[in-house]
Symmetry: C2
Subunit: 453 residues, 2 copies
């Protein structure tokens, strides 16, 4: 098996590079055709890997690619999940090389989606090819690659409900997360949920001269800033009434275990080139970014943002605001709390609108399950080290839905690194991680099949 | 004279429309050639009006157009000032007709610059033509039309110093302000000054994944919002230490006189389609927009502002912030106070930069001067009503410089209206106001010459 991977090393890489050349940005409608191209590319790859079936399923949004290889109904079935859509690449000017023209530098692949999630799900297709070619496939495999993860998987729920029978499986394997370091393997046992909204503050019915009207009427930008500022207190606590009500506090033991993971604050600050960190009082950086909820403005705009100076008192101002949620908050409930509160703090001098974008539930996976043990053994075998269970700060909203609809847990066996710069300019993925993933995945199947007997 | 204006009514209008077709936006370098075109148009118009001299003077920025008609050294000399540059026209989508394709609707000219200031300074060129053609010119006339008023007249100071001799005059007449209503003439006796800055807040060295880093590091947008919000207290007072130190409070008499000007709050709210006004506690809308200093965010941007949702924790956020100043604040001093304060309130988790754009001093003109009396008599004669002295909220930074360099006061005899939507989409100027100005200006010359004898 190792031999097969070795022999096809270059092809495995070049195929991924071809996939990375397709700008499959789901958030921006002008890339609609590229989304389709990417879906077809994935379908063909699954086909060539030796699957019995590989098809594109239309949805109300971007299509889902599904394929399967059923070798023996008596064997356990693993469902692979991933997404072929990527985050928008802007700001383009900050990329050292064009985001959709992948380049290899210092043993890393630089391109939008290199890690999130094209590089990571494609490892599974290559692992599948390897297992079939070397006749070492130990389980039945189903593989579902969607195109709307970066915009909230809004249509996958319907898809999963509709094809529940087809998707029936014993566990779900997902590579869309990170390890602590290449010599410190880890498995994410929890994810944060998400509530994402866009807000609009409208003042006068037109842009005004800031000299003629300035001081006499509300300035929507000033008002928006004041409203956003009021959403957190001086300790970094979110002030939305009821926001923390459902948040499960960790036990001292859980906190200690979590904080036991290697973390170097000086390295962290050096990597980000910041003089100081900032966050909720009373919690460590690891806790702030994994088991605590957050509120971040992801984008803001209003008034004159062109060259030079314009003395305008703008008619409106907008912002995109997202909140990361932790067990047992629910995105619907937080959306409702946010909306109610945000509308309530708007002064009478403006009109406020809150438009929900998308959300997802937080998730926790037990470390005593068969699938977790299988992942643990697989990583221990390929890395030569037992992986550390961690809690991730990101969100894969769909895992909660899988549990609900398909009745099984997901294993988050990702191979990325913090330095991969997900969602940022110059996203990259290490060649070591790509090949290590292709090598580790078959081991998961092997151990999972054994443990299930 | 009236007859001459009558006979040339259509030509006077069509010439202005031609001028309005030139997109002379000084703030945006891509209009550099149009700026030159506009300057040449103005020079030729002054020439054709019958001036002895009309030339374009290069500056470090956009050129100044200067012309003169000296009929008798013993007669008083009036310097006309105006500007041929206009504000940027965006947002374009909010214009009912293209900003640089003027249309006449309901007796109004719709175009960027229709009132501010092309429509208003062009009245002077047509008035000059009329006085020369009808041999009724009662004073020497000098006329200086610049191209950088909307970006702070940064090079006019040098020009005025260099050509102090050429510009020597007894008074300065400017039409770049408004009257209360077509049947309520008024003259602005004061203007607010301006300090305009651009600020930048920088957090991490790159855009980050809001899930992986959210909650652990400063979000520049949140920080910027908090810093901006903190610049005003709950009473709308500006919190910058020393900001109000030099502000001259009005006497009860002055306040009463100011508030005596007709103002209908319901009409005001209806026109702007707002449910409530907002401003500094303890002051009327008229006071808030004329004799009180302000702080407004004119533009803000940061993070992802495209279609859809992007869960990014941005690297930086920017804003354009301007402050309107009143006697006896100075723009340099306020710039210094703002910069010092803004830098001091930035948390250690971010870097802050304050970049000054431009500024100007506030200005007050005495109502007991010869030139004010002349303007008063001229308007009384043409409107059939004595004009009310008002205080304007806008800024014409240059008038303070004129007084300093040329040693004489400026008369702000403008003919605009609040509904002209200066700096806004669908800027317009009433035909009544255009022709009334052309009719009133010669009367100013007549009365001024008489009063000076």
């Amino acid at each position: 098996m190792q031999q097969y991977i070795e022999n096809n090393r270059d092809r495995f890489l070049n195929e991924l590079l071809d996939l990375l050349r397709i700008p499959s940005v789901s958030a921006d409608s002008k890339f609609k055709n590229d989304m389709l191209k990417a879906a077809e590319f994935v379908r063909d790859s699954i086909q060539k890997a030796g699957a019995d079936k590989a098809e594109i399923y239309e949805t109300a949004g971007h299509p889902v690619v599904y394929g399967e290889k059923i070798i023996d109904p008596k064997l356990p079935t693993v469902l692979i999940y991933g997404h072929y859509d990527v985050q928008p690449a802007d700001p383009y000017e900050l990329w050292n090389s064009p985001p959709f023209e992948p380049v290899i530098k210092n043993e890393r692949i630089f391109a939008r989606g290199a890690c999130d999630d094209k590089g990571q799900f494609y490892m599974h297709i290559k692992a599948l090819e390897t297992m079939i070619a070397t006749d070492t496939l130990a389980c039945n495999v189903k593989i579902m690659i969607e195109g709307e993860e970066e915009i909230g998987s809004s249509n996958l729920g319907t898809f999963v409900k509709e094809y529940r029978e087809m998707l029936k499986c014993d566990t779900i394997l997902i590579s869309d997360t990170s390890i602590i370091a290449n010599d410190v393997p880890s498995i994410e046992t929890g994810l944060r949920g998400l509530t994402y909204v866009e807000v609009e503050i409208v003042g006068a019915n037109r842009d005004l001269h800031s000299g003629v009207y300035g001081g006499g009427v509300a300035n929507p930008i000033n008002v928006l800033c004041e409203m956003i500022a009021s959403l957190k207190d001086e300790n970094g606590h979110i002030t939305i009434p009821g926001f923390y009500e459902k948040v499960g506090e960790l036990t001292t033991e859980q906190r200690d275990a979590l904080n036991a993971a290697p973390f170097d604050l000086e390295e962290y600050k050096k990597d980000l080139q910041i003089n100081d960190i900032q966050g909720e009082a009373g919690y460590s950086t690891i806790e702030r970014t994994s088991v605590r909820p957050t509120l971040d403005v992801n984008g803001i705009w209003g008034g004159y943002i062109g060259e030079g100076a314009k003395t305008v008192l703008p008619s409106k101002a907008n912002a995109k605001i997202s909140m990361r949620l932790v067990p047992h908050q629910t995105d619907d409930e937080i959306l409702e709390l946010f909306t109610k509160h945000f509308e309530s703090i708007a002064p009478a001098s403006v009109k406020v609108k809150v438009m929900p974008h998308h959300g997802g539930l937080p998730y926790v996976t037990p470390t005593d399950s068969v699938e977790y043990k299988a992942a643990e053994l697989a990583m221990e075998e390929s890395f030569g080290k037992k992986p550390i269970p961690t809690r991730g700060g990101g969100s894969i909203p769909i895992v909660a839905l899988f549990e609900q609809e398909l009745g099984c847990k997901s294993i988050l066996m990702g191979f990325g690194l913090d330095i991969d710069a997900l969602h940022s300019p110059n996203e990259s993925y290490g060649l070591f991680n790509y090949y290590k993933g292709i090598e580790t995945i078959p081991l998961f199947f092997k151990h999972y099949a054994e443990l299930k007997q």
